[in-house]
């Protein structure tokens, strides 16, 4: 079992009456890429900010690399690095100058700072643009510079907040490879994303956050076991009747997707039976198309439905999903 690099227990954050994080637990181990997954506004970024000490938490305890965050006197411990949202730099300085400033703010780590800056720039493939002012960088280049800034700290615990969001496919692949290489080298990487397929491809464990609460925590394998049937999009001649018919069937979930029609979460057999039943009830099926793979379906199910609804029956949950969609 790998060493625990990050341990957050019962972390809450409240802004006035609004609970942004509600007793969130998060554990990441050395050498493991841990996905932090959730839709926009789920609380991922706030959680990252709290973990990095940028935002004061309302409750909970955090250990980074075995050190209590409160015992660090407001400093991010050595070996912990990362960025939250789009990394920001001084636009009037070059990428290299920005990194040189940041390396000066880190504790001494032995080797020549200039050499470390060059090495980090090369690792993220920014060599040709290193001496260009950051104001002329694209969003993707800033993202790469942010990763380079994190690498300067020789991270053993690395937080990356949607690091591929502004990157072209080739650069995104490069960053994913880099993250995997760091994890292989023993770094615990917390990879925040709202892209299930990216996390599925990259991470071995994950935490799904929704409405500031944990919707799932565990390995991707365990999530796959829980994954429901695929998600389909259905257009009928009478959506209301189709919904009514679905409410009697516990083997599938159907909810209104607005102008898109109806979304169905069901396995193939249940779907076949439902389509036949629709025809028997005089509801014409105008189109039926596969929308997501099974893990994405589960992600949507976990994040569309409020946490308080998870334990309800599928029909009840289905009703809630309808109200959310409408």
């Amino acid at each position: 079992m790998q060493r625990i690099a990050l341990e957050a227990l019962g972390v809450s954050k409240r802004y006035g009456d609004r609970e942004v994080l509600d007793r969130v637990d998060l554990v990441a181990r050395s050498g493991v890429l841990h996905g932090l997954l959730g839709p926009n506004g789920a609380g991922k970024t706030t959680l990252m900010r709290v973990l990095l000490g940028l935002v004061r938490r309302s409750a909970g305890a955090i250990r980074l690399l075995g050190r209590d965050l409160d015992a660090c006197d407001g400093r991010v411990p050595n070996g912990v690095a990362g960025f939250v949202e789009t990394p920001a730099f001084y636009p009037y300085l070059s990428g290299r100058q920005n990194l040189a400033l940041l390396v000066d703010l880190d504790e001494e780590q032995g080797s020549n700072p200039r050499h470390r800056v060059t090495e980090a720039i090369d690792q993220v493939g920014l060599g040709a643009e290193a001496d260009t002012q950051v104001r002329n960088y694209s969003a993707g280049m800033r993202q790469c510079l942010g990763i380079a800034a994190a690498l300067l700290r020789s991270p053993r615990l690395l937080f990356l907040d949607e690091p591929t969001s502004s990157l072209d496919p080739a650069a995104a692949r490069h960053v994913r490879t880099l993250a995997r290489r760091l994890a292989d080298g023993g770094t615990a990487v917390v990879w925040s994303s709202h892209d299930m397929s990216e996390v599925e491809e990259l991470c071995s464990t994950l935490t799904v956050v929704n409405h500031g609460r944990i919707a799932f925590e565990g390995s991707v394998e365990r999530l796959r076991e829980r994954a429901p049937a695929m998600l389909h999009l259905l257009h009928t001649s009478n959506d209301a009747a189709a919904l009514s018919l679905a409410s009697c069937r516990r083997s599938l979930k159907v909810w209104n997707a607005g102008d898109d029609g109806l979304e169905i979460s069901a396995d193939v057999d249940a779907l076949d039976a439902y389509v036949i039943a629709l025809a028997s009830a005089g509801v014409a099926v105008r189109s039926l198309e596969r929308r997501t793979r099974s893990l994405e379906s589960l992600f949507l199910e976990l994040t569309v439905i409020r946490p308080s609804e998870w334990e309800r029956t599928p029909v009840q949950a289905n009703e809630h999903a309808e109200s959310v969609a409408s």
Binding site: R57, A59, G74, V76, F83, A88, Y90
Partner: protein, 289 residues
């Protein structure tokens, strides 16, 4: 687990430790950033060139700034030039000079969104606060030294290093005149630092560079207006701008130091109160919300 759970109750996250090593690193970084900014270069260039332009204009024009202290002497002695410049600068230039960096140093991080980048390194908020505040004070000091040196150089080179008559009618030899000019400029350092503290506070609280630079200048003007009208004495004595004129007592025989001492105490109070308040706000704020 018990100790861990207890630690969990302490969620404030306020940094208490400020090391000299950490503050030095922050000052170094701020210095590098200032060197890369055109704003700081323009301000310092204006401090160098402004007095020479003033001395040249005075020499070329027929009239003198007679309504200003030592204005009548600007053609007789070069030592009058830095004093006239000081009189003008105290009105609005010194508040601008002292807030141009202090009022922007903190809010610029909000404007660029770089607090997150900085605070995920190995330095605490306390170290950033102290380092940035020292940089702001250091820039104010540098700007005043440059302006004073340039004024003295402009006066002595353009007009000449001749003796000057002080406010009591005593003729001062050039060496004594130079000593008193230097002391006069040194006497504006406390109120200048007070304004820097005010600029730092506005910058931290408002997170706006416009407010950080503009508000201290507006406050300085309001204080000067307040001093002009016949307001209550305690109010007038609490105005930091009155300290800018305390050097007049150094140019009489005998010297009177009371305004200087009072102005220094008021300036120190402004500085301490503003810096402490700014530090509290900085320590307790959430970054990036």
């Amino acid at each position: 687990m018990g100790a861990y759970a207890r630690a969990g109750k302490r969620t404030c996250g306020v940094s208490r430790i400020v090391t000299i090593h950490g503050v030095r690193a922050v000052v170094r970084v701020e210095r590098s950033k200032l060197a890369g900014q055109i704003k700081a270069q323009v301000v310092l260039a204006a401090c160098v060139l402004g007095p020479f332009a003033f001395a040249a204009v005075i020499r070329l024009q027929s009239s003198l700034p007679e309504d200003t202290l030592f204005g009548r002497s600007v053609r007789q002695s070069g030592f009058a030039v830095p004093l006239v410049v000081l009189g003008f600068a105290a009105l609005w230039a010194l508040p601008v000079l002292t807030s141009v960096v202090g009022g922007d140093l903190f809010s610029a991080e909000d404007r660029y969104g770089t607090w997150t980048t900085l605070l995920t390194r190995s330095r605490s908020r306390g170290e950033f606060f102290v380092g940035k505040t020292l940089t702001a004070l250091g820039f104010s000091l540098l700007a005043i030294i440059v302006l004073a040196s340039s004024s003295i150089a402009a006066g002595t080179l353009v007009v000449g290093a001749d003796p000057i008559v002080d406010l009591s009618g005593v003729l001062l030899a050039p060496a004594e005149a130079l000593r008193r000019v230097v002391l006069a400029w040194a006497s504006v350092l406390p109120p200048a630092f007070g304004f820097t503290g005010l600029a730092v506070l506005v910058s931290v609280v408002s997170r706006s560079s416009v407010a950080g630079i503009g508000l201290p200048v507006a406050i300085a003007m309001a204080m000067q207006l307040c001093a002009l009208v016949d307001g209550p004495e305690p109010l007038r004595r609490s105005l930091i701008t009155s300290a800018f004129g305390a050097w007049h007592g150094l140019w009489t025989e005998p010297h009177f130091y009371a305004p200087l001492v009072h102005g220094t105490i008021v300036s120190a109070l402004y500085l301490v109160v503003c810096v402490v308040l700014a530090c509290c706000v900085m320590q307790l704020r959430d970054i990036g919300r």
